[in-house]
Amino acid sequence: MVEKVLKKDHKIHAEMTVLNIVSKHRKTEAVFKNYDKKAGVCICCHALFESLSKVALRYGLNLEELLEDLEDAVRE
């Protein structure tokens, strides 16, 4: 799963922590906010130090979709 989503040209990958993503790419905060409802918690409050793969697993999120949305925010 992780290998599948590790794309060369991508700035975000599944093993990055939420903290390292929002610190490097400020616009991604809005993406996480959009996922709060699906996750049932505020991701940036409760999972700041977790990797994306762990966040997806714990809160039942689609990792590939989340990665795509984060990449889109970074590209904007």
Partner: protein, 153 residues
Amino acid sequence: MSTRAIKYLNKKGINFKVVEYEHDEKGAEFAARAIGFPLERTIKTLVVDLGNKKYSFALMPGDKQLSLKQLAKVCNVKRAAMVDTATAERLTGYLVGGISPFGAKQNLPTVIEKGLLKFDEVAINAGQRGVMLIMTPGDIVKALDCEVAGIVQ
């Protein structure tokens, strides 16, 4: 048990209680659960970049998200941003998951969320993964000469 944070507080004559737990996960949520303390009273210590190589600590309730906009306003800077793990560890000398505002490598200014002051006691990291301190929020303000402000979203 002694950490740089504990030594710092002892030197200042501040009262606190040390609580240890088995550290399996980083973050206030796990720590709160492990020590049986409410998450809203378990402080997460965040390191924030204020620009021009200036940084600060933001002490937040475990269940809330930091408003970088508010923090920037409080610190009189244009923009604030979270620092990444490596920078937080370099500035504090602590490992993420064990970052304490007390006894950090660099003496950073500290802003504490005002909502925390309503509690009799709060839990805050002792500078080592798996070690928390229980103390009054007033003593945190005293120990760090914190600015008290509304910084949650």
